[in-house]
Point group: C2
Chain length 228, copies 2
């Protein structure tokens, strides 16, 4: 969401923004590991070698800091998963891209810990308030991207017309969350998850795609690289 | 795990145990909604009309209270899901039972909120310490029950011999976690999840089971009620 490039702000304003970014970034890393509930103005200020009042100037309240942290995490997620998938060809390739980039994003520990890709949602989504609404919004946007990719793949004749986009999005999302779960349990990699996703895609694909393209991640990448 | 019946303790010991149970129960309900991190001795003592020191007599530390809460939650989970499934016939019926009871357990809000069936694990499982180890232990036992049910179903000729038990457990668990996720997002029921589970079971079943048995939850229950 945050646009890069363009005019370069100068002076106090730029410095203020830089400080604000540093605070949000630090807070986001704490929250990623321990949850938004673990954010505490005092220790955070101490860690950043600031006074509590100095930190308050930038946010005014813990709630506003939490909102800023969540917004930053969402921006990073959208940038690294949804925006990347936008560049990929629409249809089944983009559907795979969304899942693949999601897994890559977690693999690369862009946001460490299991909070933002699991914990936060389970903990807050059923509640009221700003944070919960924001979290639901991010997840809705993500599921919408999955559904749209399914619909496009259907229109392109890559996925059978009878396939339910909402249900497919639910099942793919479940495999991704389940993969996070397995990784936290056994510290395994995601090859398991990727092959489960390919099996799912195979079960809904049309004969337009050769069945052996779904046999392995390597076979799938080869297929994507060689198709018209 | 806690055995019922048998000798009935009397006097101070029984009273002490009763008080301890009341504290754990109250704390578990708070944690179920807001997480173990939200447990705080002071407010909890106030709510239970006890002194902080009176509460400390029973647990000694916040960590011990957290451990007791987690143990209680695990006991309830095992009692309502695993123990119930033990009574069901081994094989594909038990595999379905494990998933069905898991969903029922969450539907009935035996433990409210999204913490114990999602949040807690995502937040703590990747960390060190007693709580994290306990959580991983519970999840391991649950996945083991799923795997064993798959293995038994294979031995009984209900599931194809080539089916990988570990992967099937991963996929079924993913659908359950994903269903929790959807419910938190849209407050939907679990009919979606149950039919996705039946579709999964259909894809791994042998011809011993008539394919239309997997068409709907009603068809499946009818099949279970009428088979030898």
């Amino acid at each position: 969401m945050g646009k890069k490039g363009g005019k370069r702000p100068v002076g106090g304003l730029a410095k203020g923004r830089k400080t604000r970014e540093t605070i949000v970034d630090r807070a986001m890393r704490i929250a990623a590991r321990e949850g938004l509930g673990a954010l505490s103005i005092g220790p955070l200020a101490k860690e950043l070698k600031m006074s509590k009042s100095g930190l308050f100037v930038h946010f005014g309240s813990k709630e506003k800091l939490e909102a800023a942290v969540l917004e930053r995490a969402a921006d990073i997620f959208f940038g690294q998963v949804l925006d990347r998938a936008e560049v990929v060809e629409a249809g089944i390739e983009r559907l795979w891209g969304l899942c693949d980039f999601w897994l890559e994003f977690v693999e690369n520990r862009v946001l460490p810990g299991g909070y933002f890709f699991g914990g936060a949602f389970f903990l807050h989504a059923g509640q009221d308030g700003f944070i919960s609404r924001q979290l639901r919004e991010v997840v809705r946007e993500w599921l919408k991207a999955l559904r749209q990719a399914v619909d496009e793949a259907r229109h392109r004749g890559e996925i059978r017309i009878a396939v339910n986009a909402k249900r497919t999005a639910f099942e793919l999302n479940s495999l991704l969350i389940g993969a996070q779960w397995s990784r936290l349990l056994d510290r395994v990699d995601y090859s398991h998850a990727r092959s489960a996703i390919l099996t799912k895609l195979k079960s809904i694909a049309t004969e337009k795609i050769p069945p052996n393209a779904f046999d392995s991640v390597m076979a799938w990448r080869h297929y994507l690289g060689t198709r018209d």
